[in-house]
């Protein structure tokens, strides 16, 4: 048995503890720079150890899985060769349309293509540490031009946004996290919606979409892309396919599911957009490229986030995902 030190009554300990912890919480809400500083210290000390271990462990497991997957690889190779031929044919057709598109663009004086983002590739070096949140760490940071709020893409679709930037690492909040909200728009007819991460639904492979206007038509399989009403996400990035949209209980809006395109359980490498995301950049690159003005009067020429969300019947999607 240890010799007893000063015996502080339990209720004082608990009182002080709650006081300190709540104080820390308030401090990190009031001044994000405080939370940033604490996080930065933690990362600087522990991230190098984690990276080394992860790299060693991953190379070990990949060696084992490579040996196991030989035969399935052969089958996959045959299927993929067939797919390549298919895609080559498709590509040829697309090139023809591209040529036509270029000439038509020239005709209209639209020189900007909304897809001209500057991107850097990054590798995931750390996954979520718990079961209540979905975020990961990538091995590129401010040295490579990544900034707070950079959009992250994989498999040609939105994965998340950067919530913390270090010199050579950054943390990404994925769109499947429960606190994430993304303003979306149906590519088919320009109906707006909000794509929400949902911890419970995600295990079935879905996200939630809601705040769809009651009279909007979103059918199963419609492609949802990021809307141009956001000042966090670039417009026109694919998110996933809608399904099961139906009237919600309030009889005003519709809700449904969204199956993301990016495979979150299997992410290894991601692309990060390093083009600065200012409203100017959006209006230069957006071109209202996706919306069909005939079905949605608000989705017209203006690209300022404020003016458009003001026209919506539902409150504007708060993109930040802050709670």
């Amino acid at each position: 048995m240890n010799k007893r030190r000063v015996n502080v009554p339990l209720r004082y300990i608990i009182f002080i503890l709650v006081f300190v912890c709540v104080g820390l919480m308030v401090a990190s809400v009031v001044s994000p720079s405080f939370a940033n500083a604490v996080t930065g210290v933690g990362y600087r000390v522990l991230a190098p150890i984690q990276n080394t271990l992860n790299r060693a462990g991953n190379s070990l497991t990949s060696t084992f899985s490579e040996i196991g997957s030989m035969s399935s690889l052969r089958e996959e190779n045959a299927a993929l060769s067939a797919r390549v031929e298919e895609l080559e044919e498709e590509n040829r057709l697309l090139y023809q349309s591209l040529y036509e598109l270029d000439s038509l663009r020239e005709l209209y004086g639209l020189s900007e293509d909304y897809h001209q983002f500057e991107m850097v590739g990054a590798r995931i070096i750390q996954r979520s540490n718990g079961n209540w949140y979905h975020e990961f760490v990538i091995n590129k940071g401010s040295d490579d031009g990544i900034y707070l709020g950079s959009n992250v893409i994989a498999d040609g679709a939105l994965v998340g946004r950067v919530t913390y930037v270090g010199p050579n690492y950054s943390r990404v909040l994925s769109i499947i996290d429960d606190s994430s909200n993304v303003g979306g728009v149906s590519r088919e007819n320009g109906s707006y919606c909000v794509v929400r991460g949902d911890l419970a639904l995600y295990q079935e492979g879905h996200l939630r979409i809601d705040h769809i206007r009651g009279d909007a038509v979103i059918e199963d399989g419609d492609l949802i892309v990021t809307s141009n009403t956001s000042n966090v996400y670039f417009p026109g990035i694919a998110i996933g396919y809608a399904s099961g949209v139906e009237m919600s209980a309030n009889n005003l809006t519709q809700t449904g599911w969204l199956t993301p395109i990016a495979d979150f359980s299997d992410l290894e490498n991601v692309l990060v957009i390093v083009t600065p995301n200012t409203l100017d950049a959006i209006s230069a690159s957006g071109d209202g490229a996706l919306e069909d003005p005939s079905t949605d009067p608000e989705a017209g020429m203006e690209t300022s986030a404020e003016t458009e969300t003001a026209g919506e019947p539902e409150p504007a999607p708060d993109e930040g995902g802050e709670d």
Binding site: C21, S28, A35, V38, T39, G42, Q50, L53, N131, D323
Partner: protein
């Protein structure tokens, strides 16, 4: 500061670091388990049970701070509070502990993990208007408790060896200088 105390602090720091790396690197990133066991909570419970409420408080606060930093919520103090409280609670049960038995530590780890899950659900989900408690219970809280129980059962023997080594050292020192 006596030497045994410093030894205890260093071994506690090592236990936290190793638990943290096991949880974040091995279970999460390398093995990609279906549910990530809460090994930091296990370390907190073990220290609370083995020593006293001060040890539970200190180890819990550090473990909670680590979780705060690496959870990406940018809310320092949230996990720290629950880990430290659970550490204190385990410290109060110290006198029931038979140091060589795994039953109490494993059961306490599971109970604490359930309480921890309830705490996160209430403050992070229910207060935002998300009342699907059954869903979270089935999908997140129970799997995590199960995985944590398995991890606790495996790691208990490592922790026991560590505690025994430290107390042997203490006794040796007490004989020499006592």
């Amino acid at each position: 500061m006596d030497r045994p105390f410093i030894v205890k602090v260093i071994t506690a720091a090592l236990a936290i670091l190793i638990g943290f790396l096991l949880q974040t690197c091995l279970c999460s990133t390398i093995l990609r388990l279906y549910s990530i066991p809460n090994i930091l909570l296990f370390v907190t419970v073990m220290y609370g049970l083995r020593y006293d409420r001060y040890a539970g408080l200190a180890v819990g606060a550090v473990c909670g701070l680590l979780t705060d930093i690496f959870s990406g919520t940018m809310l320092i103090g949230f996990y720290m509070l629950i880990y430290a409280l659970l550490g204190i609670a385990c410290g109060l049960l110290h006198r029931f502990l038979n140091e060589q038995e795994f039953a109490l530590p494993v059961i306490m780890t599971v109970i604490c993990d359930l309480v921890y899950g309830l705490y996160v659900y209430v403050f992070m989900f229910m207060l935002r208007g998300d009342f699907r408690f059954g869903l979270y219970l089935n999908r997140v809280i129970f799997p995590e408790a199960l995985f944590t129980a398995i991890a606790a059962f495996i790691l208990f023997w490592v922790m026991r060896a560590q505690f025994n080594a430290v107390s042997r050292y203490e006794k040796r020192r007490a004989r020499k200088f006592g």
